[in-house]
């Protein structure tokens, strides 16, 4: 949430914003308790409308009330834009989009009327990293659509920003700089700028561009490390997936994933086998140990040691049907086959335990015979919500952590 301190030094307009923000926050808090009698004043109506949008839920719940609130908010003045952006903090995706819709209407009205945006307030909102990333990125968009020069001046400071969209802007700027240095034959400077860009980059296309340039300049790049792909696993299989029934069937590893367990496979008893991938993008390929089988199911298990209890994301790429468990608890599963695969295809929020965490992946191969259905594989990494890799620590370090 914003802090009142950051708004205290404003001019008259800024003070108005502070008052408005405070009322909204108070109204939101009280409305959340469900017992607040709203007054008839414009400010109260504004706060009530914002609260209505924030209360929209799944399956269209609250849409009718939201429609009326949108009518009110869309007619608000430009000074309400920072407050509407603030209201996106912690909002669900429906509410965030409603709020965005209201801001878009207000913003376009300002443009049509030739008015000016509260650029200072928007800029301060953008620079306050305690706000959520989406409204901050929107604030930047509004600034750029209003005054590109102001936006350009802000870009270098966005390197390492929690918003991947915002840091992308700064990285693009570094890539131009580095490319210029290469043309001027200033290789050391170019390498260091590319290194700086790589450290901040989270988007695949930018990372691949930077890696390619660095390699061209004779430098090593460890993309596996950068992304944090998990490369050391134990695999067990094959189990059946006749008529795609294996996805729902509970095979032995789902009941007991201890590495010394023996399971009944398709033709014989099967046990866990150590597996390490040297694929740059961490591809775990079941076809390697088991052959290009069809209508089969395999499991992969790895240990991830976290330095702390912390939120994280498991990010998976897989074109087979799959399920994932963390510490024995099902995270998610999906029974789609061969419709495509990419890095970070699925982003699964989880809570890591301090110390040892067991990740179990189930991957099912179906009956299709086409050339593009041979793959029986996945790639997985652990990262934070910006895509920054979280690395498992070594067992030696884990003992220190445990102490």
């Amino acid at each position: 949430m914003f802090t009142s301190k950051s708004f205290r030094q404003f001019d008259e307009k800024g003070i108005f914003c502070f008052v408005k923000h405070t009322r909204i926050v108070l109204a939101l808090l009280v409305a959340g308790l469900g017992n607040f009698e709203f007054g008839q004043s414009a400010n109260d109506e504004f706060a009530k409308s914002v609260a209505t949008l924030r209360n929209v839920g799944g399956e269209g719940k609250g849409n009718i009330a939201a429609s009326q609130a949108m009518e009110y908010l869309s007619n608000s003045g430009k000074e309400t834009i920072p407050a509407l952006l603030s209201a996106m903090d912690g909002a669900n995706p429906f509410a965030a989009n409603y709020l965005r819709g209201a801001i878009e209407v207000i913003f376009n009205k300002i443009l049509e009327e030739g008015g000016s945006l509260p650029l200072i307030e928007l800029g301060e909102f953008l620079l306050n990293k305690s706000h959520d990333t989406k409204p901050r990125a929107m604030a930047f968009d509004l600034i750029r659509r209003t005054d590109a020069e102001v936006a350009n001046r802000l870009i270098p400071g966005l390197l390492g920003d929690p918003s991947v969209d915002l840091r992308r802007e700064a990285i693009s700027r570094l890539l131009i700089q580095a490319s210029g240095l290469v043309k001027e034959n200033k290789k050391p400077a170019a390498v260091l700028i590319y290194r700086q860009a790589l450290d901040a980059a989270r988007d695949l296309d930018q990372i691949q561009t930077i890696a390619s340039e660095l390699r061209e300049l004779g430098r090593n790049v460890n993309l596996t490390q950068h992304f944090g792909f998990l490369t050391n696993w134990n695999l067990v299989g094959p189990f059946h997936n006749k008529d795609r029934a294996g996805f729902d069937e509970v095979f032995g590893p789902e009941k007991n994933f201890a590495l010394d367990t023996e399971y009944k496979g398709i033709d014989e008893n099967v046990t866990w086998k150590q597996y390490a991938t040297d694929d740059e993008y961490g591809m775990v390929d079941f076809n390697e140990p088991y052959g290009a089988l069809k209508e089969v199911t395999g499991y992969a298990r790895t240990t991830f040691i976290s330095t702390s209890d912390r939120p994280a994301e498991l990010r998976l790429g897989c074109k087979n049907a799959w399920k994932i468990w963390l510490n024995g608890k099902l995270v998610f599963g999906r029974d789609e086959y061969h419709r495509g695969m990419r890095i970070d295809q699925y982003k699964l929020p989880v809570q890591l335990n301090k110390g040892t965490n067991i990740i179990l992946v189930k991957a099912c191969q179906n009956e299709q015979k086409e050339e593009w259905t041979v793959q029986w594989q996945f790639q997985l990494r652990v990262c934070d919500s910006t895509g920054t890799a979280i690395h498992s620590i070594s067992k030696t370090d884990a003992k220190v952590v445990a102490k």
Binding site: E59, G60, N63, G101, E104, V105, D165, E336, Y337
Partner: protein, 404 residues
């Protein structure tokens, strides 16, 4: 009489659609047929481009036209997660309003398609726009957001890694929304005023990119034909209940064509189904393996059925028997479907070549070609004496100069 005039006037004031508007995928009747006359047939890039306007993102959805407003969707941003809805003036292409939302569902899709693949639909009061991410927005025609849904937020396994493409249809005033895929596959009937579910039915667990067709019987009651690999399910749009099922399978890419009480289904080639008057059953009238459509949907016009295959060959058949009468090779391939107006068929190839076929010629005749120079995968809109077509980067209005 005065009373009737008053009612007509009120309907117009209320902003309802009028004849000549292009209100959904393949037009107001979902069949690709327009009553327009006076479209250019000898296309010339110097003479017939009324305007062209850059778009802020990719897309292959068709434009809609209501009065002098053109509506089009697009997706932008590095992750294709900026969902865009634009309203342009049909007169000069100027932007009347532009709205942007965040995708709430998956924005992964095949590189050839886009998150803005499905075509919106309008009842002349509201615009309903859905994206491949299964995010659905209802705006008034002035761009005010009335309600939204994030169907992948509500139903997390409702997605397709290749992308979704089924367009929305309105039937009996209910917004029928197909979310058919390999996993959490369903169709939901939404209240157009609030976006809330009126009913939700499970559908075959299989990717499906077709769009439903809507049939109105003589009493004005509508029925929806859902096409999938399992054939055609006729459903009551008020309840989602299945009325009948044609079970010989059907394509999951080209959609069916409707004309009167006949439904032409891309099934086993092309299969003609005659619908009973009470809407409770159907009878197979003919089937032709030689009329198998490719990606483009078939088109029924006057006494003929037209089918465009993946080799770019346009076949014309007798509508009553399915007997093939002639075929004509066009410059393909085609990702979008053809439209027809005033005895001329218009289709745009993926290479961006507009082609006009004179359907009155004994074996069809290519009247003209015009190269727009960009990949085009949309089905064009026809309204106000003009064609509207879009690429991944711009939209064109094509008309005679007198209609500029």
């Amino acid at each position: 009489m005065k009373k009737h005039l008053l009612i007509i006037g009120l309907v117009i004031l209320a902003g309802r659609v009028s004849a000549g508007d292009w209100t959904g995928f393949r037009g107001p009747f979902g069949n690709g047929v327009s009553d327009e006359v006076g479209l250019p047939v000898k296309l010339d890039i110097e003479k017939h481009i009324a305007w062209k306007v850059d778009l802020p993102g990719k897309g292959l959805s068709s434009p809609l036209v209501v009065g002098d407003r053109v509506f089009v969707t697009a997706s932008g941003g590095t992750r294709q997660d900026r969902l865009q809805i634009l309203c342009l003036s049909s007169i000069d292409g100027s932007v009347i309003w532009h709205r942007q939302f965040w995708a709430m569902g998956s924005t992964m899709c095949h590189s050839k398609t886009s998150i803005a693949a499905p075509t919106p639909v309008t009842d002349g009061v509201s615009l309903f726009a859905i994206f491949s991410s299964n995010d659905l927005f209802c705006l008034d025609l002035d761009g005010k957001l009335k309600w939204l849904r994030g169907l992948t937020v509500d139903y997390p396994n409702a997605r397709n890694s290749l992308g979704m493409a089924s367009s929305l249809v309105l039937a009996n005033g209910i917004l029928v929304t197909q979310v058919e895929n390999d996993s959490e596959s369903f169709v939901v009937g939404l209240d157009r005023g609030s976006g809330s579910n009126l009913w939700k039915i499970n559908r075959p667990k299989s990717a499906n990119w077709t769009t439903a067709t809507v049939h109105k019987n003589k009493s004005g009651k509508e029925q929806v034909f859902l096409q999938s690999g399992q054939g055609i399910h006729a459903i009551d749009p008020d309840s989602g209940n299945v009325v009948w099922h044609y079970s010989d399978g059907a394509s999951t890419i080209p959609s069916s064509a409707l004309k009167g009480n006949m439904l032409y289904v891309p099934s086993q080639g092309l299969t003609a189904l005659e619908l009973s008057k009470d809407g409770k059953s159907f009878k197979q009238k003919w089937r032709s393996g030689r009329l198998r459509p490719g990606t483009a949907s078939p088109l029924a016009y006057r006494n003929h059925i037209y089918s465009l295959n993946n080799a770019g060959v346009l076949a014309c058949a007798d509508i009553d028997s399915g007997k093939r009468l002639w075929q004509l090779r066009l410059d393909g391939p085609f990702g979008g479907s053809p439209v027809v107006a005033d005895n001329h068929l218009y289709v745009f190839s993926e290479e961006g070549v507009a082609q006009v076929v004179d359907l009155t010629a004994p074996e069809g005749d290519i009247s003209s070609k015009m190269d727009l120079g960009e990949m085009i995968q949309c089905s064009p809109a026809v309204a106000n004496g003009a064609l509207y077509v879009r690429s991944n980067s711009r939209i064109w209005k094509i008309a005679r100069k007198t209609r500029f």
